[in-house]
Symmetry: C2
């Protein structure tokens, strides 16, 4: 069973994977291996190489766990957290730990090996974004989970270990620190202004235009004012919405268009860099006995968004150790650069 | 002038380098370049290629900015922050910014190109650690600075852009978020226990021994209970000490031995990975008009330490976007592995 351990200096929970434990000698420095294998477990025909599917989209009637699908959701074969068991909160001297309970799912986004998100059809992209919504809504029913993280790693530098395009969902019994901070600061701002911080940001960005990448009927893509990384892009719904599960089909369609466009612009402008994107949505808010409602105003004060972080190789260094970032490109320059990049979507 | 901008969602300050601004097209993906240049500005004889020295150790009397030194501190030729000017705190709509005022110095650790820290003599290592102390103490006199960060990047993956071994010092007008959090949690713990959190951690680690890497008369090297990264090592003074500037020469000697040993063990066990180390010490505490004393109990509640983070290539992914870390090696296994690695120091 993996362990969740809390660092007393930062109050950050870390998953210590004790089971799929790699030997320390596995970590000798080596050049990144090509991530292409001989047999791809995500390709049609190889369904027996993955755990049984949780959800699949099959345009025509067909057998489960057999080819014919256009999208497939499966449990991760090597999960970071385990679905079975109790949370088992424990002290360990001055430290805190609990069992690594959670869910870890893989969304196989396409049946075509080597097809990437910017190349999907509009319909295919919408299907993926609906799968996020549906899986998040389903996982909410498990009372042990506090937060669900949907994310995608593209390219070896971003942590992708299989080439076939996929994204992931992790449900966990704690709220990740970066999201918890956002929730706190959004609530604080709401308490002060009676307005949503991210609605105010959208409104200022639309007024100034200098950090806009793309505006569409329902969605907006901007570079954050204090971008940590060059070409960091955030996509937000223009109407106030705290929970991604509340997205309408019309908004899914708009999000698919904007996400595809931004990723296509990044690929065209920067030469297919590795990237991560992460969906920040509101945490699960089922009341827990003995805990007063922690997220009292969350429906008003939080606003979901997707963060896209290209992993550009020339950026590295002390930032990850200190929480202090140096960004060598102004978001204004980077936004103009991406705005000017014409793409067919 | 670079800008410091505060992200409203995380309250994190980011340096936006507007001056040494790279063109967006500089960021196209490329393979990492070899960091070896033709002429090394840090080698003896090339002193004219760097700004004039701030401090240098010359065993025999010799001219400034000429060869004959064994250690040299210079201003960074391409500083992340600028020394001249006022802080200029300003609002920008809902955002906050200030001028990128600060100091950015380079400690050239050795006159020998290609010599690395684990290979320095004990005397040379002590000299470097004393240079940190002396430069930190000097920079404290500038009333504009709130925090000084001493750190080292080794290897291209850790952000080193010059091969000749060096470390860096950045003085800044804000406290980096990761350090500010530690200060807060240490103060909170002290308020609750009337004891220093890190003294308690040292005491538990010495009792359990499972995460110890090395114990010496004055210093201890441990792997944190909730290590974010495989083989993350923290070095702490065994006596309570909040400010690195208070380190004695005897303790410098112990620290030099432990730092060299740990880095040598890492190199031998893991094949010379890139790494960062960062000194976390207490912030500058000069009282500022209009601000009540922010760090009231800091002498009792904080405890300086050095964090060493090897940049192992097989670790990457969504962690940097979410603040949620998955560590595939238990610190207990990693600590045993490094303990068993015999090195001559």
């Amino acid at each position: 069973m993996p362990e969740l351990r809390r660092d007393p200096l930062s109050h950050r929970w870390v998953i210590i994977a004790t089971e799929r434990a790699m030997r320390p000698s596995d970590f000798r420095v080596e050049n990144p291996k090509p991530i292409e294998g001989n047999i791809c477990p995500f390709c049609p025909g190889n369904e027996h190489l993955t755990p049984p599917e949780i959800l699949a989209i099959r345009p025509a009637p067909a057998e489960r766990n057999k080819p014919g699908w256009t999208l497939r959701v499966i449990p991760n074969k090597y999960p970071a957290l385990r679905i079975e068991g109790e949370l088992g909160r424990k002290g360990y001297g001055i430290y805190d730990k609990m069992n690594g309970i959670g869910a870890h799912e893989v969304i196989i986004e396409t049946s075509t090996h080597k097809q990437e998100l910017p190349d999907y059809s509009q319909t295919q992209t919408e299907m993926i974004l609906r799968a996020y919504r549906d899986r998040l809504a389903d996982l909410k029913n498990d009372q042990r989970f506090k937060y669900m993280l949907a994310f995608k790693n593209h390219g070896a530098r971003a942590g992708a270990t299989l080439e076939h395009s996929h994204s992931q969902l992790i449900a966990m019994p704690v709220t990740p620190k970066r999201v918890a901070e956002e929730l706190d600061y959004c609530r604080e701002y709401y308490g002060y202004k009676d307005r949503c911080l991210l609605c105010d940001i959208i409104s200022q960005e639309q007024l100034l235009e200098e950090r806009l990448v793309l505006v569409e009927e329902n969605m907006v893509a901007i570079m954050p004012y204090a971008s940590r990384f060059p070409f960091e892009v955030h996509i937000l719904p223009r109407r106030h919405m705290h929970d991604y599960c509340k997205i309408s089909d019309r908004e899914i369609s708009s999000l698919a268009y904007v996400l595809k466009s931004v990723l296509k612009k990044i690929r065209q402008a920067l030469g297919d860099p590795s990237y991560n994107y992460i969906l920040h949505t509101s945490p699960v808010t089922h009341p827990r006995p003995g805990h007063p409602e922690q997220w009292g105003t969350i429906e008003m004060d939080y606003h979901w968004h997707i963060e896209i972080i290209p992993r550009l190789t020339r950026i590295a260094g002390f930032e990850w150790g200190t929480g202090f970032y140096i960004n060598p490109v102004t978001p204004e320059n980077a936004a103009k650069f991406l705005r000017d990049e014409n793409v067919d979507v």
